[in-house]
């Protein structure tokens, strides 16, 4: 007390500032940095959670490079990213653009789009899983069958399963992206549009010369945000394929599910940590690249 009491006012301020700053610093150190460092360390070791850790150097990484499942899983992860991100952005932009013009029941419609974003991913995945079942229980296939159309194997197919799982994931994220796009659209000054209209510019030119360039910050944010989301996809895949996780034949398995499986079913912590480090590097590189590319253009 006396130690603190004897300090000049400026020093007291510093103490208080550091006192408050210490909370997030300690939090990040304990909850983020320490586990990250530890995971990196484990990736060079062999550990089954029960016994002692043994140093194995680069063995886990060598196994990873030689593992055909890893390359398939990496391919799947990028399919989720490369189909999911552009598709969800185009859809949400189209919806936001039209919704922005609608006055009738505007709030209700916007709420309807936002609703899936607030729904638990697990519950949503199970409902969609039920939609996709074959006859006699699956909604989609029952509908097809009642029109005399042949059933589609949505989930039990190496080609259909990934898009089938991606669909609810895109749908779930749509509401959030629509809201952000609408905020971006509203932020563009009306005067630009008025000027363009007076000049008699076509609506296509307005779109490509005014709307899209001015939306760049919004688009950058959404691309980065949704890319990270699709690279880390797990809930939808895991819950829609619990019987055969990431199946059939690993055709839907994303990297995060492979990590989960290696760590908590095979208890091969070192190998799982090596996969985690790879995912971390990918996320870092993709995010940095996107930020740089998008910044250069604008």
């Amino acid at each position: 007390m006396s130690l603190y009491g004897g300090l000049p006012l400026a020093s007291k301020r510093v103490v208080w500032a550091w006192g408050f700053l210490a909370i997030p610093i300690v939090f990040y150190t304990v909850v983020r940095f320490y586990p990250t460092a530890n995971a990196t360390l484990i990736s060079f070791q062999e550990w089954n959670l029960l016994g002692s850790r043994t140093w194995t150097g680069l063995t886990n990484y060598r196994t990873l490079i030689a593992d055909p499942v890893f390359w398939q899983v990496l391919g799947n992860t990028f399919q989720y990213l490369l189909i999911g991100t552009p598709l969800s952005l185009m859809l949400s932009f189209a919806i936001a653009y039209q919704l922005d013009k609608v006055r009738f029941m505007h709030g209700t419609i916007r709420a309807l789009y936002f609703l899936p974003f607030m729904t638990s991913a697990v519950a949503m995945a199970w409902v969609w899983r039920w939609f996709y079942q074959p006859v006699p229980i699956g909604t989609f296939n029952n509908l097809l069958a009642s029109f005399g159309i042949q059933q589609i194997a949505f989930l039990n197919s190496t080609t259909n399963a990934l898009p089938a799982i991606l669909a609810p994931a895109v749908w779930a994220g749509l509401g959030f992206q629509v809201i952000i796009f609408m905020a971006g659209l509203r932020a563009i000054p009306k005067t630009y549009y008025e000027a363009a209209r007076i000049d008699g510019v076509s609506s296509w030119t307005i779109m490509t010369e005014i709307t899209l360039p001015l939306l760049k910050p919004t688009i950058v944010f959404l691309v980065v945000f949704s890319s990270i989301g699709f690279l880390r996809i797990f809930d939808q895949v895991f819950n829609m394929t619990t019987n055969n996780p990431g199946g059939p034949l690993n055709s839907t398995k994303p990297l995060v599910l492979m990590i989960y499986d290696t760590a908590f079913n095979s208890f091969d912590m070192g190998y799982a940590a090596a996969q985690t480090v790879v995912l971390f590097v990918i996320l870092l590189v993709v995010s940095l690249l996107q930020l740089r590319i998008m910044r250069e253009r604008s």
Partner: protein, 424 residues
């Protein structure tokens, strides 16, 4: 509807309340010892264990047993994280397939031979528990074991005029064909037999079908995969024909095999004794149980799995003595009968299981008989080994790979898994 359920809950709570009261009562005794017991959460198992603890504490007023349960999904991770940290239980329930890892890491203690005489155990218990023996001592023992049997829908059997459950694989196919129904477009609306390597079929294939077609899944020491053989190809051909050629089943039908059977959309369903409880409460479903059908040459086989109880390295001194006493009680005939009546899992001791009453029981009977000729797989990584079986069938079904090739790929992949595990 709500009354019986509430009564059941109260019934389940009664022993718990009694246990709590007892533990308060015994707290005053100077030499009181408290030991901790962990298991995964499954209502019937918890009720049964509470009853056992209540009985045990009555007989040993100076010992208190504290229990802790975790959801099944987290159980393995929780136990694996807690025991090495010295935070875990004194007595723990483990799946038999995990034992190797715990033993190697020195996390469980052998059962003392004075109280658990190996010769006695071998005389009394079913032979599959012998995989728990290390250097002349038992590391763990089960209270109960599970085996497989064929569940069949009596209503569908009666409607089709089928007299009884199949005795052979040939009859199984024949009955399955009669019970399969399709709509006008040819879509399955009712399957004769449920199937799915993701459920119990991988056990049925490994330990039952392979042997019935004259093969053996693994070498006797468990280090070599031996099913890439003529017998293996014949067994897999027979299994994949059910869906591919005969069309009496579909692995994706109604999402899960047990769901299809429960909904009354399947004539027959192979499952473990643990399914009894879930089916008992199903309204409108009349079902029976039969032994698994015999193979072409009359061979019968079955698969048995079990959870074991073990004393962890944490228990020392008087806690260790109390843990030994507790282990003795929960592996006694009395405990096994309570477990059978509450959980529906079969006694691990032949003396307790093979009573005339159990053998003649219309529901437990077929499971108990199956135990007599059951095999346990010495898994190194059960989920990975199951996945290989699932993928083996998927390759045939979705990629058109031949039975022989797909079996070969699976056998090679599993051999690698075994080699890696034994190299550690």
């Amino acid at each position: 509807m709500s009354t019986p359920r509430r009564r059941r809950t109260l019934h389940a709570l009664a022993p718990l309340a009694a246990g709590t009261a007892l533990s308060f009562g015994s707290a005053g005794i100077a030499s009181a010892v408290e030991i901790e017991y962990w298991q995964y959460f499954f209502e019937a198992r918890v009720t049964a264990m509470d009853t056992l603890i209540e009985n045990f504490q009555e007989a040993n007023p100076d010992i208190t047993v504290k229990t802790n349960q975790f959801p099944y999904a987290d159980y393995r991770t929780k136990v694996a994280a807690a025991i090495p940290a010295g935070e875990g239980p004194d007595v723990v329930q483990l799946f038999y397939g995990w034992l190797n890892d715990y033993e190697r890491a020195g996390l469980i203690q052998p059962l003392p031979t004075e109280s658990f005489d190996p010769a006695m155990i071998e005389a009394e218990f079913f032979p599959m528990v012998q995989t728990m023996k290390r250097d002349g001592q038992y590391m763990a023992l089960p209270t109960a074991v599970r085996s497989l049997a064929l569940f069949y829908n009596e209503r569908l059997f009666d409607a089709a005029g089928i007299e009884g459950p199949p005795q052979t694989l040939e009859e199984l196919v024949d009955i399955a064909e009669q019970l399969t129904e399709r709509d006008g477009a040819g879509n399955l609306t009712q399957v004769g037999l449920t199937s799915g390597m993701t459920a119990q079929d991988h056990h049925w294939f490994r330990e039952v079908l392979l042997r019935q077609f004259g093969g053996q899944p693994y070498s006797d020491d468990g280090t070599q995969v031996t099913y890439d053989s003529d017998a293996g190809r014949a067994a897999l051909q027979w299994y994949s024909d059910l869906e591919q050629t005969l069309g009496v089943t579909e692995s994706t039908f109604m999402d899960e095999p047990q769901a299809a059977f429960k909904a009354g959309r399947a004539g027959m369903h192979i499952d473990g004794s643990f399914r009894i409880g879930a089916l008992e409460d199903t309204r409108g479903l009349k079902w029976g149980v039969a032994e698994l059908p015999a193979g072409p040459d009359g061979t019968r086989s079955n698969y048995s799995s079990y959870w074991v109880n073990a004393i962890t390295s944490k228990a020392e001194g008087e806690k260790y003595d109390a843990a030994v006493k507790f282990m003795q009680y929960i592996t006694s005939d009395e405990a096994m009968q309570i477990w059978l009546e509450t959980v529906g899992e079969l006694p691990a001791k032949q003396s307790a299981a093979l009573t005339d009453e159990n053998r003649d029981d219309p529901i437990y009977g077929p499971f108990v008989k199956g135990l007599g000729y059951a095999q346990s797989t010495d898994f190194v990584d059960e989920s990975a080994q199951r996945q290989l079986m699932t993928d083996m069938v998927s390759r045939i079904e979705l990629e058109g790979q031949s039975v022989a090739d797909s079996l070969k790929v699976a056998a090679e992949a599993e051999q690698k898994l075994l080699d890696d595990a034994f190299a550690r």
